[in-house]
Symmetry: C2
Subunit: 446 residues, 2 copies
């Protein structure tokens, strides 16, 4: 067994108070160096906090003094020393009087980024950007909590977690936004959503499907809310009575997740992001697309009355309207026109030009698209034909369409962008900040 | 609100006993039709079980009789009727006396597969294959439980769940097994593991990284245990004292997951797969590669003494040996020669031709590769050079290598194939059966 023996066990900075008087090791990064004439102060940071290492210079022959003198910011160190109660120290009234310091990985100086570095250059050095900013560290803790709370809710409601393929033999939904790759002697495509496969799982008798995984969009979009690869949270529910069942599921899932986030991280989010996490009341407001457009046009939106969909401006204005009317941050927009929805969205029996679909807006940003799916083979094929899909397209979709020939139950579901949820929750300007390693048309690194 | 009103709430088959005397709806598939002269029996299956619908023919004008007469196997139906206690009925002593039946999606007849269909053709119709076989349904429930138990353990041990990109700007580790795709005006590559990115997360100050996601291998392998896309469970731990910390983490994680699976599904797994889920004792046995080869050669393996790695035959023989010696199903093989491990595995100080790495075998199948990583920039670059990477290769890896220039802590981790874990756990012959929609060199559908 290869194992180095260290003089003291590692203690997290947040737990130091429990070890006053003991000799411990703290593992972390050199956050700040204050090398004064008689004293050396080194602030060491781990993922739980900052602590002060205090060393009184011993003059020539003081090895520790020399080591501290040569330290650089962001070096990875293990400091072993005694935890001392000292009310004068800002950081929790504690300091460490060091006995030894081990430089496990020395950081070059100067660092390539600092607090004035712009977003794109920060992304080039994302590992340093995330490491140095407690707010960025918090973001991934919040993501973990939110995602796990969604899972808890989904499992409790009878979901099975599926991992569907990202490699497809034919381009899904629409060929335009799909990445194509060489696959041995032929081509494959990257799934732009698990849509077809989660429906296949429904046809396979999986009662409720939950999936978290990457989705790929070959869209040349450069906005603050688009990425070419992002983490999708997908749900699909069998035997629904209508799309309302899907919306009800989603609002309860989000309320559960936000309650958990507020409980675990509410104070830290307020401190680091200046945002209050509000646990939303149920049900969320609902408005049809027709009503929404009517409300918005009354306020001057789309004066030419030419738009069939909401643009970002319309989404923000609608959110403001709903917030004013109901105090709610969320709104389901329902009954999208069939013309701007994919062929597999079920249509209303009463108004066949409308789909039984919805988007969910949070503070004016679309975070979800959902729908009841058309599960009747003949209707589905007819709707695909109306969207201009010819015999060839339908043949390419045959594996998908076959699911509807042998007893596919009614079902519906939704896809949610995890990065967008975080972006709105934490009040971030860009999805780039809500993703560990952002991917866009111009960015494939680091 | 669009919502159809049904005469009775949906009740799951497993819950019918609680509703004796009540009128309920059961939603499911026609499993079996027994249309006799005076009686019609329809066995309806949902994801929780089978129930019998019993209808006494009423003669002409009996609409229900007519509907049942026209049913087909695997049609999706909603049967509404009274739950009746009838000890004569095999299925839990219950039957449903129907008041109405709604055919929500009629299955075409005949079905394209039956119980005699071979594996490949079953995979073509995977949705029917999974739906009709309770064992296949169970597999995904087990997967959900196992995965969630791993998450619980990982979270409790301080892991953060990360979603790292699958799109890379340069080919990772080795170019040969990487899929290449068109990415706007250039090329991108699919990550063959989250290796580099989870190390980047460690460099970013994430203390312990957990990720579940797809990994892609452009290997033309046609074995029962290889796939071109599979679900990887990845872990990376910072500030380790040695590779032993990683192995200890993994054995505890697996013991926790298997205990949970045994508790929730043990009886069902024994019934459907004929396999007992054994909760492994800790620690797992460990053997160095040198020792393993010595043991195996004594038993006649590799008579030419030419092999540096274990082949599948050697893995099985080693597992048998360990099982005999210790009774244990698992074994860590450690200290792989540097020649057969990637450049980023840390080498032993004492024996620089050996790496501080391991594979974990379960019942003779490799389910994990892990290692302490080399976190010292100069050593890492040197090791890359020794693997034949030239200036160009190193330049392509610069974003990765940069992580080690600014204070990267010691760390190590592992990657586990979720499908392989299920394959061994349930005693399956092929990874194809352990995956919802298998992807191999010859299979991109359905």
């Amino acid at each position: 067994m290869i194992q180095k023996i260290h003089p003291a066990p590692r203690v997290l900075v947040a737990d130091l108070r429990e070890h006053v008087g003991e000799t411990v090791s703290v593992c972390g990064w050199v956050n700040t160096l204050r090398l004064q004439r008689t004293m050396q102060f080194v602030l060491v940071r781990d993922h739980t906090g900052l602590t002060q290492v205090t060393h009184r210079r011993g003059g020539s022959g003081d090895e520790l003094e020399q080591q501290f003198e040569e330290l650089t910011a962001e070096s990875a160190v293990r400091v072993t020393g005694r935890v001392v109660d000292n009310p004068v120290v800002n950081l929790d009234g504690l300091e460490i009087v060091p006995e030894s310091v081990e430089v496990l990985n020395r950081a070059e100086a100067p660092l390539p980024i600092d607090e004035h570095t712009g977003l794109e250059h920060r992304l080039d050095w994302r590992f340093l950007d995330v490491r140095k900013r407690p707010a960025a560290q918090l973001l991934f803790a919040v993501q973990t909590t939110a995602e796990q709370a969604m899972r808890e809710f989904a499992y409790r409601e009878g979901c099975t977690e599926m991992h569907t393929p990202k490699l497809m033999g034919t381009a899904s939904e629409s060929g335009a936004e799909v990445f194509k790759l060489g696959y041995f002697d032929r081509s494959a495509y990257l799934a732009q959503s698990p849509q077809f496969y989660k429906q296949m799982a429904i046809a396979a008798g999986i009662d409720r499907v939950f999936e978290v995984g990457p989705v790929f969009r070959a869209e040349p979009s450069f906005t603050s809310r688009h990425a070419t690869e992002f983490t999708g949270v997908d749900l699909e529910l069998a035997w629904i009575d209508g799309v309302e069942d899907v919306m009800s599921f989603e609002e309860r899932l989000l309320a559960h997740a936000l309650a958990r986030v507020a409980e675990v991280h509410g104070a830290a989010i307020l401190r680091h992001f200046g945002v209050e996490v509000v646990v939303p009341a149920l049900p969320f407001p609902r408005i049809t697309m027709a009503e929404a457009q009517c409300v918005l046009r009354a306020e001057g939106w789309d004066p030419e009355q030419a738009k069939t969909d909401l643009d970002p401006e319309g989404e923000r204005a609608l959110a403001a309207h709903i917030k004013e009317q109901t105090g709610h941050e969320f709104v389901f927009v329902t009954h999208y026109p069939a013309g701007i929805r994919p062929f597999y969205h079920m249509r209303s029996t009463e108004q066949p030009d409308l789909t039984l679909s919805f988007d969910l807006l949070w503070k004016g940003l679309e975070i979800t698209t959902g729908a009841q799916r058309e599960h009747r083979y003949d209707v589905l094929v007819k709707q695909a034909g109306e969207k201009g899909m010819g015999v060839e397209s339908l043949q390419a979709l045959q594996d998908y369409l076959n699911c509807f020939r042998y007893g596919c139950p009614p079902h519906g579901g939704l896809g949610m962008g995890l990065g967008r949820v975080l972006m709105v929750m934490l009040g971030l300007d860009s999805i780039r900040e809500a993703t560990f390693l952002f991917r866009g048309p111009n960015r494939l690194t680091p």
